[in-house]
Each structure stands twice: as structure tokens, then as C-alpha cells.
Amino acid sequence: MLYNQPHPLEVRVLSRRFGLPNSQSIETYLANDGYKALEKALDMTQQQIIDEVKVSFLRGRGGAGFPTGIKWGFVPRQSPKPKYIMVNADESEPGTCKDRLLMEYDPHQLIEGILIASLAVGAHQGYIYIRGEYRYLIGVMDRAIDEAYAKGMLGDNIMGRGIKFHLATHSGAGAYECGEESALLESFEGKRGNPRIRPPFPAVAGAYQCPTILNNVETFCAVPPIILNGGAYFAGLGTPKNGGTHLVCISGHVNKPGVYELPLGFNLMRMINEVAGGMRGGKLKAVIPGGSSCPLLKADECDIAMDYDTLAAAKSMLGSGGLVIMNEHTCMVKAALRIMRFYAHESCGWCIPCREGTTWLKKLLTRFHEGMGQRSDIVLIGELSKNMLGRTFCPLGDAAALPTISIVEKFREEFEAHLDGQPCPYEKSSRMVTA
């Protein structure tokens, strides 16, 4: 069982069917409001569906937080080209493990969300791009898709209304970069996952250069409750301009790590102390608020409402909801190094500032953590990172730079403690194994 016992502070909208017997089956789904939103949407105009999503203030749950209704509105619905729905199930942002649950415990909610999106723009074909490591979920989704076809929810005559929509899964093969929308499209087309220059955005030129709605799994899963209960209901769950609930993946030094559905704007300290059972092994030192691409928060910055705008004002990001909690015994140089090793490994090599920057930073941070750093390196690490910002096709360069800049700025004393050949103050010997 991946999901945890419901916590009283949770507001279970997307996860309300988790834990029901046979929650994967279409029978369970139909017995619990399943496909009722689709039925409702079939009687709405395209503009009405898009407007309802706009009212909900649903924002992209994959990390960027772009308003979903506005994104859908960019699709040129009159275009003679076929339109596609593409689901980003390439969940790979370190700290994030929510899409797994949404697919494993409620696959039909995702299918229904996709179907409503297809009605909103007149698409007749959709694909779910699932990361290769989630092989078992490809099976789960394939079975759910087969059930939906058998019940007439997918196919050439959806719910007997003469509307056509086909859906299939698509397996990735291991590449963080393919979670970036334009790289995902390249990969989907059978190529290396290098990003595309934008504009044009996928809404205009996505899969096969056709208009495409491309959203994260959780974003699609939020659509049925929005259509069923109204956009205003969903918006009211969160804070102004930050609608609804989101699945928060809590990991690291807490007593009860897990995935919890909480309203946007929920206080971070309450998440740690009340929802996740408090700190484990020591006092709070730092938090990654939304996956490893986000600037870190120091302990004294953590009394904060977790929504897109509040975190942006604090110069960080809500990202994909991956909360990594670190206690006082965590070496921040080591954390910075491990994060940078990840980005150096995953950089696709397309843009030189990212390809070279991440590799150089990995080398510098490795040297630093092993006690061979020089004082000037601290400045160099910060400067190198800043020189990557905004100079790449896709946000991977920024994603590598932003947490690094924040660690250097907020935990400079830890870098200084590693100077002059001193061993890492947090461990007896430096044990970083470099792949």
C-alpha cells in the first residue's frame, strides 16, 4: 500500500477514492461519481469547459504552475490539423511521487480528465507518456483504458453521443529531461529527448507539430471534480489565484513521510509538524519545497503558506509538490553536490551552458565536499550557476542553478567549514561515491 492512512487535516478531492476496494476498476469508479463529470461536459460547449477550468484557478501541477484554463485557451480550436492530448506521466522530479498514486489507485479519474480536455478542444487522440521505470503502471493504465473502451467511454461513440476519442499509453525509457514538455514531445516522436525552442508552444505546435494540450497527470485528475462541482468550488478550496488541493509528497527527516492531499496555501510548518508527524533525528535545517529544482528554504523561512504566489514571493517555487525535509545533521554541501550530480547526469547536452555548467559545478562541489575547495570556489559556484540562468532552451539549466544559488547564499558558513582541507563536519570521512 503506497498511500497512507488519511490524515484529519487532509482535504481529499483527487484522492478520495484511494483505499476503496478495487479502486482501479471501472465499476468502483462508476459507483463513486465516476464519469459523471464527462456526462456533464458532453452537454457543455468547448468555451464553457475552458471557462470552468479558468474559474477554478487550477494551475499546472507538473512544476511550472501555469493556469490550466488559459493554457487550454491557447489551442487554436479552428485549426484544420488534428489535435492531441498528451499526458505527462514522466514523473522524475526528485522528491515527487504523486502521479504514481493517482494512476495506481484511480486510473479512471485520469482517463475522465483527459476525455474532458479532449472535448474542450476537439481532440480525437490522446497519449499517456509514462516513464519507463513505472512499467507496472503502464499495465494498470492499459487495463483501465480497455475497460473504458468496453463501457463506451472511449472509442468512436463516447457515451453514445457520436463523439470520437482514442487513448493509448506510451513508454519512456529513462530520461528526466523528457518530463520537460517539448523534450517529451520529441521523445514521443521517437527521437532523443532534446527540447524545442519556443514559441511556438505545444498548444499551437505540439505532437507532430499539431495543436496539443500537454499537462501533468495531477492536472488532468483535477478536472473531473472541477466540472462536477464547479470551478468556484475548486477555487474556494485554495487561496486567491491558487485553486484547489494538491498532492504533497513529503520525504526526508520526518516521522511520517507520505503523500497527503492538502489545500493550496497550507502552512509548511504545520505540514511538517502536524501532518508528517514532526521532525526525526534533529531540528529542522532546510526544506526543498517543490522538488529538487526549487530554491531551498531555511528553517526560519518555513512559516509560509504553500501556494504558487507566496512561494514565488519568497523567491522559491511550489514546483511539483515534492517536499524534502532536512534536519540539522544534513551537510548542505553534500546536498548541493548530490542535486548537481543529478542534473549533470540528466542534462541532455543540447545547450552548452547547461551541459558544461552542470558538469563543472559537479566537479567543483565534489572537490569542495572532499575538503579540497578554495575560498574563491564559493564565489565561483555561485557565479557559474547564475551564468546558466535563462541561457538554455528548457528549464533544466535553471533547475540546476536555482537550488545551488540558494544553498550557497543561505548556507555559506557550511562551505567555509569545508575549507582548508577540513573533513566534512557532518561525517567522519568523506564517503561520496561518484558514479
Binding site: G190, G322, K334, A335, R338
Partner: protein, 173 residues
């Protein structure tokens, strides 16, 4: 090149998923499922997929180099993948990795002499709230303790199947 009837059926399904002039989309799914059966991405597999999708072998080869799950050389019967990314690092992932290397006497992307076990230090596999996490082939193991991991490695090395090792239970359905 011939495949099992199951894989042939799967390939046929893959090729039917995409528009008729977009068969190239099937390249990556075919490579990964093909690799599972063949044991590695061989030149023959590349040629065959190129032929069936209507692209050049070069276009398939350039893809193979990009994706971390595609391998030119055979892996062990049990490919043990240990995550050491940030969430796993904080709760013992690195220690599991070192434990495995030490015990088996092999390192990153290496295979034991008997071909039974291969090791890979992997990036985030989406199990952060249940860290440290390990994957054996496609099966997930969560909240793995050093003791459990010891039993897992010992069992696999002794020729047991993962499901015969009582100390660890895969979590995916």
C-alpha cells in the same frame, strides 16, 4: 529476426497506436520491450526496429544512446537499481548502495561473474516518500532497511527469485 508471439503481438499493437505516417513514435517503446526479451539492445534488434518503423538504423541508434534504461550489453538476470538521489540519500540510500557494491564486489553498471546480478546507482525513481527505495528489474521495494537489503542480495546471489525472499515484498501490483 524473430520474437516470441507475445512480443510480436505487442509490437503490432504499438505500431497501430500512432498515425500511419508516424510509426517512428513506436521506436522507444519497441526498444525497451525488445530489450527485455532479447537481453540487450543488439545490432539485430536495432535493424529490425528500424525496418518495422521505416527509419534508418542510425535514427534508432541515436536514440539508444540517450535513454538510461537502454543497454547495449546484457545486464544481470536481476538488475538491482538503488536510488541515491536526495530523498533516498537523507535516509540511507547511499549506505545501501555501498553495501551492495561491497557484498557483490561489483560497481555501477557491472554484472556478477555468474551473470545473476547487475548493479546500477540510479536517479530518482519516484518513491521519495517511501525512501530508501530499490528496484529489481521493474519491481519496487520501499523503505528498505540494511537488514532486508542484506537478505535480498544474499537470496538473489543464492539463486532465489525475489518472491522467494520473505524479508522483502514488492509494492507494485
Amino acid at each position: 529476426m524473430t520474437f516470441s508471439p507475445e512480443l510480436e503481438a505487442r509490437f503490432e499493437k504499438f505500431l497501430a497506436k500512432y498515425p500511419a505516417d508516424r510509426k517512428r513514435s513506436a521506436v522507444i517503446p519497441m526498444l525497451i520491450y525488445g530489450q527485455d526479451e532479447v537481453g540487450a539492445v543488439t545490432d539485430e534488434l536495432v535493424e529490425e526496429i528500424a525496418k518495422r518503423t521505416g527509419v534508418t538504423p542510425l535514427q534508432v541508434n541515436e536514440v539508444v544512446g540517450f535513454y538510461s534504461m537502454l543497454h547495449r550489453k546484457p545486464q544481470g538476470k536481476y538488475h538491482v537499481q538503488i536510488c541515491t538521489n536526495i530523498s533516498c540519500l537523507l535516509v540511507g540510500g547511499t549506505e545501501l548502495w555501498e553495501q551492495a557494491c561491497h557484498k557483490l564486489g561489483i560497481g555501477h553498471k557491472q554484472v556478477t561473474k555468474d551473470g545473476l546480478i547487475s548493479l546500477e546507482e540510479v536517479e530518482c525513481m519516484g518513491a521519495c516518500s517511501w525512501a530508501p527505495a530499490v528496484q529489481v528489474n521493474y519491481d519496487f521495494y520501499h523503505d528498505v532497511t540494511p537488514e532486508q537489503f542484506d537478505k535480498l542480495i544474499d537470496g538473489l546471489a543464492a539463486g532465489k527469485k525475489p518472491e522467494e525472499i520473505a524479508e522483502v515484498v514488492k509494492v507494485n501490483c
